[in-house]
Symmetry: C2
Subunit: 263 residues, 2 copies
DNA sequence: AGATATTTGTTCGTATGTATT
DNA sequence: TAATACATACGAACAAATATC
């Protein structure tokens, strides 16, 4: 029998089990504290393995496991050779999203769940970049739009266009000054990219989606050029609502198809 | 994007390519793919160490490092003893937040950054729970509010009250049907809990914060009782704006103090 | 309760790979 | 080319935990 983990169950403030951690995990914690206490910054070097063995009173294998733990958390990076060693690293956004993606792999959110959040975050993001774009930045955005200004010739181009549309949003986020908002917008985009349902939808022709998306983005850029944050937010909101309706409709169609031909 | 990895026989005896990832990291990836391909669910057991050594052609130490990687990612859990072994696990929300917290440790967002997002997510969350609360759930929320219905007698009670206020939001999220929205709301709450600036603010008396928070929450519960999602959203928005203003003001005061007495 | 079997957890000695000098 | 300093990898032996009988 498997303890079913209730997805809704919260991260309760008090962990039910404080015990049960293996030694390498505990040593990894100690190392993390040690790094923080010493105020080590990204780029700084940790002591060599032998010294770590001394300091944390554990064997080479255990130390190595602990280092690997920190490495998968994206906090350190090891290099071989002289002058090599283990170095503190700032966790990259990409890595953070990868780790977080594992969580939603089991949660398996619906398209509606994602868009419900995206619908309110993306407008806020759009508003936050108003007045922060130089002419070169507008050029960059328009260049991306060029990829899907014409209807696609085949399914491969169709797929490339869908991705370019997501790229448009991703580029926009580059200029968002709020790191929390930026991360969350980007993460939702990556969730959409990875969702199998979305992949299936993107594999089919979506002429309406392309056309409406394009028109929204043109309007959005106009609003941003005149540094009108409120308008940008409003336009993005409409865009998201339209996209959500479209995606959910397609999802329903695909599910109906799947139910009709169950294997 | 990710090619399907042949489940068996990964590495040739001598892998002349050491580019980038270390071997344990690569083996961890292979294991993950192997788990996905076999459709293993949380609770399912992985082969024992000896068999893994056979299957992935690596030494015990390397296999253990790979397992540790998956363990820190929250994907597996190992137990000793007969009937023990390594088991697939669903990444818990708490663990996911911990991992994600490492990212924002370096990003170091301001209170304003966090509230800018919280201000729009919490209202959406409040609206989403309207009509989903039974009488027992209201009782639970009111019980939490009891903790700070009276002004605190000392600083310790002050701190307990601040945490109870965050708990109120956390409990509310329990009933949010959208896993993405729920996770993000909870994560922002945990970010606030951990931010050192916030800790310092919470350590001081905040009579205004308590009183205004309490009144908003009373109004919120009333709206939820009559299942008025729009009102709940509106009230929560006001609550967040007020809280943000208050926190930023306190932050400014603390910073001024800090600058005046720099050690 | 106690013995035992099973499985992970830890250690150590040694060997190999890699990059600098 | 050789010497070096460092991480990386391997395998055997031992320790600890925990079911079952």
């Amino acid at each position: 029998m498997s303890d079913v983990v209730d997805p809704r169950l919260p991260a309760s403030p008090e962990a039910p089990k404080g015990r049960g951690k293996s030694r390498p995990l505990k040593i990894a914690e100690e190392m993390k504290d040690w790094i923080v206490v010493r105020g080590l910054q990204p780029g700084d070097r940790l002591p060599g393995e032998r010294e770590l063995i001394e300091r944390f009173q554990a064997s080479k294998g255990t130390i190595r496991e602990a280092l690997r733990v920190l490495e998968t958390q994206g906090l350190v990076r090891s290099r071989t050779g002289p002058g090599g060693g283990t170095f503190v690293e700032a966790l990259s956004g990409a890595k953070a999203m990868e780790l977080l993606g594992n969580y939603f792999f089991f949660q398996n959110p619906t398209i509606g769940d994602i868009y419900a959040v995206r619908r309110i975050l993306e407008p806020e993001m759009a508003a936050s970049v108003a007045g922060r774009l130089a002419e070169a930045d507008f050029k960059r955005l328009e260049q991306t739009m060029q990829i899907y200004v014409e209807p696609p010739q085949d399914l491969e181009e169709e797929r490339r266009q869908r991705h370019a549309e997501l790229d448009f949003h991703s580029i926009l986020v580059d200029y968002c000054p709020n790191p929390v908002l930026a991360f969350m917008c980007r993460f939702l985009q990556s969730l959409l990219r990875d969702l199998t349902v979305c992949k299936r939808i993107y594999e089919e022709p979506n002429p309406d989606l392309r056309e409406s998306g394009l028109s929204y983005q043109v309007r959005l850029l106009r609003a941003l050029r005149r540094q009108d944050a409120a308008a940008a937010s409003e336009i993005m909101f409409e865009h998201m609502c339209t996209a959500q309706r479209y995606m959910e409709e397609r999802e329903a169609v695909l599910q109906a198809k799947f139910l009709q031909v169950p294997d």
